[in-house]
Symmetry: C2
Subunit: 526 residues, 2 copies
């Protein structure tokens, strides 16, 4: 019994106190989404939770891009200290440079743009935190769980303030902050750093590069997360960092699996739901179905650059139009720019297109994509080889993974010519290995015991029922860096070893000297 | 394309070559089981695989304890170079000492007994390997997967020889060899070593103890696995260790989850199937049902010491009989010893009992168990608090986990008295926290999206269909210890840093000296 008392005082058994025996049938879910493409996949889970009888409230800033109301969930719109124009301008800043040849100073400019973006988001969050009426109302509602994407900090701040467990829904955070916060081991020797261009099989120079990238990243990420650290420290606990704040996440729903991500260690509360966005397929609109069906044996190409980019300079667009004129395939292209007068007959331009439904069509041959994770997974789910044009953010690294797996080719949007486009299309069509490898990847991805959406719903409900998932939380959260790596212990044991060695040597020396002295004295006396 | 070529040469894409597109509908499964309680849970999966249409062949040594034929699967009996008597004597040696007061030399004796045990098992495996007729027949069968428990090496050796992927089914290996072989990070700072008595929350002396245990363990395990290393090296590749051999396991089905195991990092190919043995519950035989139902509100106690121990010295048994005479509960006890003439009326002695069905009975109050993992999970599944008597092997550590979670009390079989038994029973009945915590633990354990048996079947079929699970294999397997920890890279970067520093300092010194010299010369000339 003494053991139990000692453990209780150490906090081991603390998790029992926060477990509930009653199942949550119709739970209350507070959702703090992140705008843009992040919302598009989270919305799938939000709608499903609502369908399964939970009451869902989504917090929406009055200025937003894609987050809208729905019959499936209630929205709470909150005023923010910036206008829609300011938000658009901020996002446009991030988009800037995509179609402009890079300069050596771009790197610093990109960092500054990201800091401006985080600054705006922090201002938005502060507006919510100062909205006392809404905050009191939300607190009084007694939510069972908070669902958020920790790409932005406001959700985690609310979970902490309202003392409700948080479920995170994300692809990953810059600098691997999600892994660091969740104490997930990430050996630099076989897990490539973002943008290092490495694969898990690294030679010595590549491993040096990987370690070097990790040093640089540490510094850059201090800059990047400074605004979030400020928010946590100001509104929660003095000195609290963003990493510390998000480390309290109960379950991390991660939008990847090992057909996309390199194999790596995981923590017990990391749940892989890669491909959640391409589970449901619908029929195509009649005219589109007719268009793609008319492509015959040559099939068709799906061309989109994601929810954020649907336009490009005429000079670049011309290269594509010229290329498409030379191929037998048809093309369905999400393009909101002014079309030229001579759009080829085999090209259908659309303001928005049902990407996943198109890729699921048996005649889909190639997917032209920017390499956002949603698109990549729709490519994998439907086994369509890709021509990839990375634009910004994580896209460069996503593309690298697909190219390394032999299921895609990469082209630079800035250097694209009609010749390279045509050559790449022909390569993907004629070299059967792309399709073959993509089919294999797709089969592995789709061969799973539970659909990602069901898994996401299960774990959200688990956290609601058991008021967290404390039994999955590792004790590493209570250790500092030195303790975690047992450096203090190794130091202590080395000290003990050295002391023992020195004492032994001293003893030996003392004995030898005594022996010698006695002999000398004996000789002298003789 | 250059990137792909480079990667192909590095082996990254090698895994594509071993993937198959065709689903395995009725696959062929070769099973190399481990005798004793290990077989009891593996048999559940074996039977289920057979039920789902796979052809299962179980290899059975002619001298065995619990492995028998069945209508569900085909057996291939092979001769071994030891008799049933020799095997029984070997197991009896392992059981020795359970009921004898420990001596200071026991530790060395235990190691010697284990080495003798592994030696006998290696001899058995060699008999199979030299059985050319059977080996040729097995090779010709073209199995899709080999299912084995790597607690003993023969299964892994066969998988390697026949070039078929292996699925491992186990609780864990001594010295955490399973984790080491599978490259699973195990920080000593928060993951208690076996038998250290630590919990994840360790203070400095406990962490020192943990590190110290890990050093001792490394040495002992070299002794323990020497026979297996010899087998791998002799029959497979010169110099191959057992760790290296089992590192090729495609999927590790692990008989635990985090209601039993302390939370820790996992690898992508580690699948948790804790509780697989208590999924199916049947009705009790009529007379037993009548007996336990007659216990009224006081309920009954289930008392077993596992498949290996069903007897005890009369002196110890008397303490239990005396204790049970004093309590209102009824007792169902698996006891094969000679019963005394005055067995209390509330005690039913049985040669074998339906443990899980009894624990599932609503009147089951307490589980007297030795702390084997099967029993522990049956206790958790059915939410029955436990009085635990660890006897040997991993049981001491299993018991420690349950006691630390506040769902069990531990008693020593050697020091047990009727008074301590009665007092412990009253404590568990009167202090409601034991039951309450056990119910919470049970609810968490049972709240899972998929039953462990379905999960085990899924992953075995996955390995059959895709001829392995190479996409889950980490690149760490290709690195040595220095490379894995990036020590060579850190050494190199330190060298570069020191060189730059020394050069900079030399430059500064040279400049300063030049400056001084010039000034002195100037002054002199003035």
């Amino acid at each position: 019994m003494r053991t139990i008392e000692r453990l209780t005082s150490l906090g081991l058994l603390a998790w029992f106190c926060c477990l509930s025996a009653e199942p949550v049938q119709g739970g209350k879910v507070l959702v703090m989404p992140v705008d843009g493409s992040h919302w598009l996949s989270m919305k799938i889970l939000v709608k499903e939770l609502s369908l399964r009888g939970h009451e869902v409230v989504v917090l929406v800033p009055e200025s937003s891009l894609l987050i809208q109301g729905s019959d499936s969930y209630r929205t709470e719109v909150f005023t923010v200290s910036y206008s829609q124009q300011e938000l658009d301008a901020n996002f446009n800043e991030l988009r800037k440079g995509i179609f402009v040849p890079p300069k050596s100073t771009d790197f610093l400019l990109d960092i500054q743009r990201l800091i401006d973006f985080t600054n705006l988001q922090v201002r938005g969050c502060e507006s919510l935190l100062h909205n006392e009426a809404l905050m009191s109302r939300l607190r009084a509602e007694g939510f069972d769980v908070l669902l958020t994407d920790p790409f932005l900090p406001c959700g985690s701040v609310l979970a902490h303030l309202f003392s409700i467990p948080a479920v995170y829904f994300l692809r990953g955070l810059p600098c691997g902050l999600d892994l660091k916060a969740n104490q997930c081991p990430t050996p630099l020797s076989y897990i490539p750093k973002f943008y290092s261009g490495n694969t898990p099989q690294m030679n010595f120079p590549q491993r040096v590069k990987n370690v070097f990238f990790s040093f640089v990243e540490s510094y850059l990420c201090k800059l990047l997360y400074a605004n979030f650290d400020y928010l946590a420290s100001k509104y929660l606990e003095d000195g609290m960092t963003y990493k510390e704040l998000i480390s309290h996440g109960a379950v991390w729903l991660l939008r990847y699996d090992f057909t996309f991500e390199w194999p790596r260690p995981l923590m017990p509360n990391m749940v892989l739901i890669g491909g959640i966005n391409c589970a449901k397929k619908g029929p195509l609109p009649a005219d589109l179905e007719e268009f793609v069906n008319g492509s015959g044996d040559d099939g068709f190409i799906v061309f989109t650059l994601g929810s954020m980019v649907s336009n490009m300079p005429d000079k670049i667009a011309k290269q594509f139009f010229d290329a498409f004129r030379q191929i037998p395939q048809r093309v369905v292209w999400r393009y909101t720019g002014v079309p030229p007068t001579d759009v080829p007959e085999n090209v259908r331009l659309m303001k928005w297109l049902p990407q996943n439904d198109l890729l699921a069509h048996p005649k889909a041959q190639i997917f032209f994509t920017h390499g956002g994770t949603h698109g990549v997974y729709e490519g994998i789910c439907n086994a369509v080889p890709m021509v990839m044009f990375p634009l910004f953010g994580d896209q460069g690294d996503n593309v690298h993974r697909m190219v390394a797996r032999g299921v895609a080719e990469k082209l630079s949007m800035l250097e694209v010519t009609s010749e390279t486009v045509v050559a790449t299309i022909r390569k993907l069509i004629n070299d059967k290995s792309y399709k073959q490898k993509m089919v294999q990847l797709s089969q592995i991805h789709l061969d799973r015991p539970l659909q990602p959406l069901d898994l996401a719903v299960f774990w959200t409900e688990f956290v609601m029922k058991h008021k967290g998932a404390a039994h999955l939380r590792v004790a590493a959260h209570d250790l500092n860096w030195i303790q975690y790596h047992s450096l203090d212990v190794l130091g202590f044991l080395s000290l003990v070893l050295i002391t023992v060695l020195v004492l032994t040597l001293k003893c030996c020396w003392f004995c030898t000297r005594s022996c010698f002295r006695k002999r000398t004295e004996k000789r002298k006396s003789q």
